[in-house]
Amino acid sequence: MTTPLLQVKDLKVHFKPPRRGFGKPAPVIRAVDGVSFDVQPGQTLGLVGESGCGKSTTARAILNLTGNAHREGMIYLGGTRIDQLSEQRMRPHRANAQMVFQDPFASLNPRMTVDKIIREPMRNFDVCKFDSDERLEVVRLMELVGINPRYMNRYPHEFSGGQRQRIGIARALAVNPKLIVCDEAVSALDVSIQAQVINLLMDLQQKLGVAYVFISHDLAVVRHIAHRVGVMYLGRIVELSDADELYRNPRHPYTKALLSAAPVPDPEQNVSHQRVKLEGEVPSPDIEYAGCPFAERCPDVLPHCQDVRPQLSDDVHQVSCLLYEDD
């Protein structure tokens, strides 16, 4: 096995809300509470979960973008530990790990032309020696993501949502990163355009060998793009496995419930479909659980689930559930 491109070990990110008046200090928000995973070069790790499960915070933490939040654990990028680096010492590593954001309207500067948008990261990291090379590089990148280079002097508002997302991808690729973190990168797009962008991301991976951490709430999208998938609940990974294995043979009760709640575009399938119904909502992440945080909603709960904290198992199909710990 090759050395992983990205290693995350027992990552915790806790936010401390500001004290309100003289009252008791507000409880700490445990957005990410002990997450570990590896990403191999040229592979895609999908992270799925509902809002508030900590998937976006995990994405930001990978890139050292969590600001003043309290953080524990270790992050290695290409073998170097990066989680304790200052912003300045982090800079050279930023060329290796880039990000594509959800909202293609908010993530591109409306006052910059496409040319400038793609060129800015190249300048920051001295990708090209000469101005003329930069221009050629912009043309190459625009062609790579399927936008006619003729449009390089246009502004973001002149493009549709899908095209803007392609520009965002071109910008991320401009510094030849080894890893791109995509945070809900296709969620804002219409279905037909979403499929185009998913196919583009997969093509680029084949051509350039770039690895993705692909974060989404959409289970179907993740199945298509990811090699490995982690399911998150309340700041923890509850199940982590090869994509095919996870979707065919989900083990954690939460994964089962999540999959059975996701509708399938097939009328007959839905009739035969046995629903695992999940009551209630995801609780607030400001509670510290002694046992399994899913226990109170779990359909298969055991008597000791409230007291014993399950650990992510060590096998190929990792699951964090007491149901599987005895055997």
Partner: protein, 334 residues
């Protein structure tokens, strides 16, 4: 399932324009459909296909200007809705036809408690006094599954989670037991497990009151799950309408085929998604002929010149589609 053969709502040749600085947009262009009591009709289409404008018009909520209803008719139970004045609209809106919006936070008034917003509807339409209306409202909140309804009713919208807010919206929409419920992307902003809860709730409300539901969504999974019939829209026109099973099993419009092929499925393996090429149409500058022709894999010369008329196949299951090609035979050639 449709429980009677007489439609409760008929939309005929509806045309809505928007006058913008850069030109006139034909947001809805000759859309017709019937809605039967107790059924769920799905309206599917991408951004800008005119699905939301169609439904706002049925509620008399098109912003005018810039919007303008140029032609067509919407009849509810024999009553022509498009010629109503504001006062007459109030007798229909909320009472006979109610609406659920995508974003419950913007649809609810943040300055009023849930109680005040719920009693407003029933006091106006059902002539209840304040105490009766309050009791009615608590009952509704219980019905939509809000725990501790007696207490929660005095909370403000921001004190509810997204799913709970959508339940409040549904409680408000069903408070007068409307005949028609228009749901515009009601679950798009919600997580899947919450979405499943809300869809279930809507189904049980429909069974109890026999409400006809128009369900606007871009999520084909949700459509397959809840709709009896589906209308597919593209660039302001109806391009296909049939039963849900027919639409998914034997789609006849290339756009519908494209939509179905581009929707990823979690229950199926790794085959590539077949995206629809090209970009959604610019409504200010629609392609000639069939608006879908630049993205269509079955395109021939006449598609560029002629706007296809809607063809009705009156078999056992009625199926309407607007395409010059017969793609069912095309498939065999390929």
């Amino acid at each position: 399932m449709p429980s009677s053969n007489k439609p409760i709502l008929q939309v005929q040749d509806l045309q809505v324009e928007f006058h913008t600085d850069s030109g006139v947009v034909q947001a809805v262009n000759g859309v017709s459909f019937d809605l039967y009591p107790g059924e769920t009709l799905g309206i599917v289409g991408e951004s800008g296909s005119g699905k939301s404008v169609t439904n706002l018009t049925m509620m008399g909520l098109t912003p005018q200007p810039p919007g303008k209803v140029v032609g067509g008719s919407v009849t509810y139970d024999g009553l022509e809705l498009l010629s109503l004045n504001q006062k007459q609209w109030q007798q229909v809106r909320g009472k006979k036809i109610a609406m659920i919006f995508q974003d419950p936070m913007t649809a609810l008034n943040p300055f009023l408690t849930v109680e005040e917003q719920l009693v407003e509807v029933t006091m106006l339409h059902m002539g209840l006094n304040r105490t009766e209306a309050s009791e009615h409202a608590v009952g509704l909140l219980r019905k939509v599954g809000i725990p501790g309804a007696e207490k929660r009713i005095r909370d403000y919208p921001h004190q509810f989670s997204g799913g709970m807010r959508q339940r409040v919206m549904i409680a408000m929409a069903i408070s007068c037991q409307p005949d028609i419920l228009i749901a515009d992307e009601p679950t798009t902003a919600l997580d899947v497990t919450i979405q499943a809860q809300i869809l279930e709730l809507m189904k049980s409300m429909q069974e109890e009151f026999g409400t006809a539901i128009i369900f606007i969504t871009h999520d084909l999974g949700v459509v397959a799950n809840v709709c009896d019939r589906v209308m597919v829209m593209y660039a302001g026109r109806k391009v296909e309408l049939s039963t849900t099973t027919n639409i998914f099993r034997q789609p006849r419009h290339p756009y519908t085929v494209g939509l179905l092929n581009s929707a990823p499925r979690w229950d199926q393996g790794e085959e590539d998604l077949q995206a629809i090429d090209g970009q959604p149409p610019d409504l200010l500058d629609l392609p000639s002929g069939c608006a879908f022709h630049p993205r269509c894999q079955f395109v021939e010369d006449d598609c560029r010149k002629e706007i296809p008329r809607l063809v009705s196949l009156d078999g056992e299951i009625p199926h309407q589609h607007a395409c010059l090609r017969d793609i069912t035979t095309w498939k065999e050639d390929v």
